[in-house]
Amino acid sequence: MADRAVVAPPVDRRTEAAALAELVLCENLSQTSGWAARWSARISGADGALLWVPHSVDPALLCIAAAGEGTEQALRRSIPRDEGLASELLRDRAVVVFDGDAISASHDPLLHSLPSGIRQCVAIPLDVDRFAVGLLLLLFHTPRKLHDDADQLNAFIHHASPALARALRAERKTIGMLHAIERLTNLYDLSKAFTSTIDIQGLSRTIVNKAVDFAAAETASLWILESGAPVLKATGVNERFDVAEPSEPAGESLAREAVAGGTSIVRGSWLAVPLIDGETTIGALVMGNKRGKRDTFTTADEELLSDLARQAARAFQVAVERAQATEVRVESERLEEGLRLASEIQMRMLPSGNPPLESDTPFSIHAVVRPAKQVGGDLYDFFRTDDRLCFFIGDVAGKGIGAALVMAVTQTLFRAHAPLHDDPASLLSAINVRLYEQTDTTMFVTAFCGFLDLHNGRVRFSNAGHDRPLLISAGNPLRPLESKSGLPLGVLPKFHYAVEEVALEPGDAVLLYTDGVTEATNRDEELFSLERLRGALESRGSHDPSALIGAALEAVDRFAGGTAQSDDITMLSILYRGAGVPMTFRRDVEELQNVFAFLKSFDFVARFRPPIDLAVEEIFTNFVKHNPDGAGGIEIRVHRQGGDVSIALTDRDASPFEIAADPDINLPLEKRVPGGLGVYLTRKMMDRVEYAHDKRVATVTLHKRME
C-alpha cells in the first residue's frame, strides 16, 4: 500500500519556472500553502488537493489550503484532529494511496470529509530535514497510477517543502510574537482589572470573570486559603455560553490539591491552578468545562491561567494588605481621635494654670502641663478653702489611655477627699487605698501633696515617691524640700505617709515638677537634669510662679532644640506673698484660745510670742468689751515680711472709741485701777500700734520687728 514517491529531476522546466515565479508573490503561510496545493494539483493532474500544515500554537493540524472543485467545501467542513489519520501519516512519512473503498469505509474525519466522487486519495507527507512541514492530499475522481507525473511532482515538492518550512517558521515567529503580545496584553488587562478593584469581594468576582473569559471555560471558582483551608470567595460563569451558575460550587478538593502541589492540575473537564504570590500560595482557581475545538484544557490554557493566577494572587495579596492597612489606619485614627479627646478632657479636668486671684490673695500660683504626643498621666490640682491652699502634683506610671484614666481617677479622688482631711498624709493615704482598689497593680502614681496655711505660710506636705519640689527662698540657695518619700500611690493597699512641714517666708516660692522636666531629652538623648532646672530657676531673679515656670520651659525648649518629648512636662509653682488671710473669731473672750492657736501657727520666734499674744489679746478683749453686741466677728490678719510682722484686728461693726490715756504706772497700789492697762501694755510691747475707724469699721494694727 505504501509507495514512496522519490525525488526526481524536473521534467517540465516551464511549469517549474512558472510555479517558482508565483512563489515569490507569497507573503505568508496561508498564501504559500495555497500556492503549494494549487501547483501540486496542477502538476499531478489531480482533481483537487488539500494541504495540511502543523500549526505551532495548536498542536492540531490546521487545514490551510485547498485547490480544485469541492475541496474548498471539504476545507470548511473538516476539523482534523492530531490523533487522527493526518498526524499518523505525517509521523510515518510515507506516501499512502487510499482507493475509493477505503475512502468510503473510513470513519476518519480526514477521509470522511472529502468531497463526494473522490475515488482516490494520495497522501504525501512533506518534510525538510526530517521535520514535517505538511501533508499533501491529492484527490482524484478517477483512480490512476501516480508514476505518471511523479517526477515532475517530486521536483515541485522539492521546492515547495522548503518554501513551506520558511513560511511556517515565519508564521511561527509571528504567531509566537502575537502570542507574546497577546499574553502581555492579557497580563496588562488583568493587572489593570485587578488593581482597579479595591474591595476583596469585587476583586474576587473580577478574577473569576476574567478567568472564564480567558480560558473559554464555562465556570470558575476562586478559593482562598484561610487558616490553611480553601474558602470559596467567588464563582463565575462565562456569559458567552448559556450555562447556569452551578448551584453548588465544585472543585474544593481540586483546589486543595493544587494548593498542596503548587502546580496546575488538569483532571477530566477540570483545570485547577494555584494562586501563588512570590513564594506564598494563597489559594487556587478551579475552572470547569473548556469550551472550544476540543473541550479540554490544554497546556496553553494552563499557561494562560497561570499568568492570570499570578496576577490574581498579587492583586489579592495587595487588596488584603490594603484592607488591613485601611483597617489599621481607621483603627489607629479612631484611637488617635480617642486619645486626643481623652487628652482634651484630661486637660479640662485640671484647673486653669493661671487662675484669677484677688489682689489681696496671700499667694500666687501658676501651673503648666505640656502633654507629650501620647496621652500621658501627669496631673496637678489645687484648690483653696478660706484659709488653706491644697495643691497636688502627680505622675501616673505609663502612658496612653490607661494612664489617662488613672490620672482622671486620681484627680477625682484628690478633689473628693481633700476637703475631708486636715493633713496631706491622711489625704494621700486615703487616695492610696482607693487607687489600689480601683486600678490594676501595675499602675501607680507618684505624687506630692501640700497644704499651705494661708494665715501663716506654713506648708504641711507629704510625698508619695515623687520628685522633691524645689524651695526658692530669698537670700538662700535653691534647695529641694527635704522629705521622707513614701511609696507611690496604688502600690500597697495601705500605706501611711509622713507629714512634714516647711514655713514659707513671704516671698518664698516652691516649684513642683514631674520628671518629664528633668528627663526632657535633646537630640543626643541627654537629659535636661535637675542641675539645668536649678540653673534656669536661679537665672531668673523673680520668684513669681509664672516667671519661674516660664524660665524653666524656656530652658527646656532651648535644650531640647525641637526634639519631641516622650513624657508630659508638668510644673506647678506657688509663691507665698505673706498677706495672710484674715481669720474671723467670735466676739467672745472665750475665743482667745483659738486666737492664740491661730497666732501659734505662725511660728514666731519664741521670745516674741508672749508679747504678740498679749497685744492681740488686749486689743481683742477691748473690741469685745467695747462692743459686745456688735454684728459679726472680729477678724485678725497677720502679715509677715521678713522679720516684720503686722497684725491687724478688725471689728466691722464698731462705734468709734478713744484709746484710753496711759495709766500712771507709778501710783501706789491703792490708787491703781486695771482700766487702760491693756492698751498701755500693748503699746509697750509693740513697736507701733495704729488705730483707724471708718464707717463702723475699726481696725487696730500692731507692728513688731522680730530681731
Binding site: E590, D613, P663, E670, P674, L677, Y680
Partner: protein, 94 residues
C-alpha cells in the same frame, strides 16, 4: 489651760496661760484669800492685763488686812509685763 493648785508648802501654783478668759477661775481662788500667799509662777507661761487685774484686786484686798501676795519663779515675759505696768512696784517678786 490655766490652773491654780496648792503646792506642798501651802503656796499656790499657777500654771498655763492667765488670759482674759481665765479671770473667773482666778478670781474664785485669789479673791477668796484671807491671808498672804506665795504664788509660784514657775508653770505660768503667760499673763495679760486681765490677769494683772485679778492679781491687783487680790493684792488690794489683802493689803487692807496688812497681807500681801508674793510672786516667785516669774519668767521673763511676765517679769516684763510687771515691769512695764509698774506692778513690780506693788508686788514682791522673788
Amino acid at each position: 489651760m490655766f490652773e491654780i493648785r496648792e503646792g506642798p508648802n501651802r503656796e499656790l501654783i499657777l500654771s498655763g496661760r492667765f488670759d482674759a478668759s481665765q479671770t473667773e477661775k482666778a478670781r474664785g481662788v485669789l479673791l477668796a484669800l484671807s491671808e498672804g500667799k506665795t504664788l509660784d509662777f514657775r508653770e505660768l507661761d503667760y499673763i495679760s492685763s486681765a490677769g494683772l487685774g485679778v492679781l491687783l484686786a487680790a493684792q488690794k484686798r489683802l493689803s487692807e488686812r496688812g497681807q500681801s501676795l508674793k510672786l516667785i519663779h516669774v519668767n521673763n515675759h511676765i517679769r516684763d509685763v510687771f515691769h512695764y505696768s509698774g506692778f513690780d512696784q506693788i508686788f514682791e517678786i522673788g
